[in-house]
Symmetry: C2
Subunit: 393 residues, 2 copies
């Protein structure tokens, strides 16, 4: 097992009606003036926003509201939030929503305590010294942002989508009520399932040696989300399915599934350009590129793909030709994506075949304009990235 | 999945030579005057204590030493530590050792910030308002105390062994170098393996309904420690085996394996009286009583024992008579204990058959002198506790 650090201090408060107590919890963590950050109208129409507000009022906590976060959350709203927090003297940010809202809240939390442009962190030009505390009421099992140190923001200036991670971004607490995900459209539920799988797979398929404890947890996160994903697609109000998926979602991205491994993250990085460019759902974008990536790199560690096929999908091993098992593991993964309504090509994702010019632009951005390679299992340069986009087309 | 809270904020710093950096880490957590708490001579002869001291000095941190912690750590030394911390102005406690040292450090940390008798917490007479921060360099994979909120102390006045748990007891960080466990005697290694298994089993065999994600992680911890336990018993310097066991040890007791379940803990409570009375190793005591407990209660949930046998031990299910599979699961668990040199009866544990009078005394103490029942899968009263001790005799 390779050396690692693991730090996941977010308090998880999980179950039915837990959000009713959010005011007292914010108070316990020292919040006195709260920015309640949310997305579109569903937080209002569902009554969740009013529940959170009532709980804050009952705890004697003052707050201001900032809605309007969109999927692939934007830098302009982050800057608006930073200004609002400063003018209102906000000392705690409560995100009410999914990964986009939580990512936006983390960005605001970093920006409030920084004199420069918050985008500096995403550009790797600065390291934060402090951040406002954040917490969240989660409404969507997908991004894992509720306990992770990560935030992904899209800069409208050039539509650049970039991620950043820092310990200071770890939320103080997350409230996870599986019932809040009952009303998700099937497509979004499926996107969440893929996202959870990919947080795990992007760690699983990377160099690391003996990491049995880690690998087993990764395989179990995958099996759990795959199996209960099928149930949730058929029965959106299955509490068991929604709760297993929700908890698996946090475990998939709090680092537990990658300890001792380097992480690969090429599929995520390939996808970021797709959702940045086409404004599609992140999970759907991951499904669209993963198969092409996997077929491009699997020969670097055939037995890893064999293990994945056997332990996650219950495939028999072809001893004469293990490569067949590896390829079958990739095929059944795509078959699963299709079964839950996810695309497995970029054409399926965006509704038309993309041109060579678009691929060239995606590739350019994915290399940060020629300044980086991506991947860990196989390190991919510009030409290889373009090849994978073409294979995924 | 039942509602749960999960809070495990301890930073894990895992791998070769991580302890060399302990001074800087203590400093990062705000420690300025440290109590270095340890056990017997091995911390000295191994050079570990000197490594820790050198690292603290290099970070410019003053410290005082307090050794002498014994297995089943004693209240008298805890009180000595409390007095020392107060007289020396200690603001951070660093435990260097295994679960006993860490438990003792937690007790001191609670006591320093409390005006009354620290035993009040163990007696359930008071709730702590504050505690000194603690951290640890772990030398033994067993108790899971390095990340848990639990502390177990023996009061020499009546040789009462009691546990207590509170969020304030969670260590700030743990440094886990698997190499530090290379020199453990085989018996202690085996005790650790059993202890890790039992932290998991005492959560696993309790009511809870659908908890797939939790149950699978529990089964992973069990499989990992069982399989790598065999390797470590044969090859004590296997880094892979020592690291898998060490990490599984933390996961077994940071609550991850019991989320959504009530927990049973009867085997632990039955054992506490044995190690309190006979001063035997906790892990060995657990091995000695578990089989008798399991055979006494398994009919309350036969299919749970069947699942355990199938998923952890790879047993085939006897569809005609599932009870046979349940009993076989208990038998192979005991067979494993025997294979690693652990006792499976109290006679094997203490070297002689204990009398009815001793059983009566153990039973009396286990019920806190008639004031409690124990267990969750089956709630056990005084007569039933005595029956299990007799069956384990």
């Amino acid at each position: 097992m390779n050396n690692f650090e693991f730090y996941s201090p977010t308090k998880v408060i999980f179950g039915k009606n837990v959000e009713n107590n959010v005011g007292a919890e914010v108070k316990a963590w020292g919040g006195t003036k709260v920015l309640v950050h949310f997305g579109g109208s569903s937080a209002k129409t569902s009554g969740l926003l009013e529940t959170a507000e009532a709980s804050l009022r009952a705890a004697g906590i003052d707050y201001v509201l900032l809605g309007g976060v969109v999927p692939n959350p934007r830098l302009a709203l982050v800057n608006e939030g930073i200004a609002l927090c400063r003018s209102e003297g906000v000392d705690f940010i409560l995100a009410v929503g999914g990964g986009s809202v939580i990512d936006s809240a983390k960005a605001i939390a970093l920006g409030v305590k920084y004199d420069g442009d918050v985008w500096d962190f995403y550009d790797g030009l600065a390291e934060p010294k402090a951040a406002l505390p954040t917490a969240n009421i989660l409404t969507l099992a997908a991004a894992g942002s509720e306990t992770s140190e990560h935030t992904v923001i899209t800069n409208e200036n050039g539509w650049i989508k970039k991620g950043y991670g820092h310990t200071l971004c770890r939320p103080k607490f997350t409230m996870m009520n599986p019932e809040l995900t009952y009303t998700l459209p099937a497509y979004q539920t499926a996107c969440g399932i893929v996202d959870i799988m990919m947080h795990t797979l992007d760690r699983y398929f990377s160099p690391g040696g003996c990491n049995e404890m880690t690998d087993r947890i990764a395989e179990d996160v995958l099996k759990t989300v795959i199996q209960f994903g099928r149930i949730a697609m058929k029965n959106p109000v299955s509490y068991d399915a929604r709760s297993e998926i929700m908890w698996a979602g946090s475990l998939s991205h709090n680092d537990l599934t990658g300890l001792g491994r380097a992480g690969d993250w090429a599929p995520h990085q390939l996808e970021h350009e797709l959702s940045g460019y086409f404004d599609v759902a992140h999970g759907a974008g991951l499904a669209a590129v993963w198969g092409a990536w996997a077929r491009y790199v699997y020969k670097a560690d055939i037995m890893r793909f064999v293990r994945y096929g056997m332990n996650v999908w219950g495939l028999p091993m072809n001893y004469e030709n293990p490569e067949e098992t590896a390829l079958e593991a990739i095929r059944v993964t795509e078959e699963y994506f299709t079964s839950i309504g996810m695309p497995i090509t970029i054409t399926e994702l965006v509704g038309k075949e993309i041109s060579d010019e678009v691929i060239a632009e995606l590739t350019e951005k994915c290399t940060f304009f020629g300044t980086r390679t991506i991947g860990g299992l196989v390190i991919l340069d510009k030409a290889e990235i373009a090849d994978i986009y073409k294979a995924a087309r």
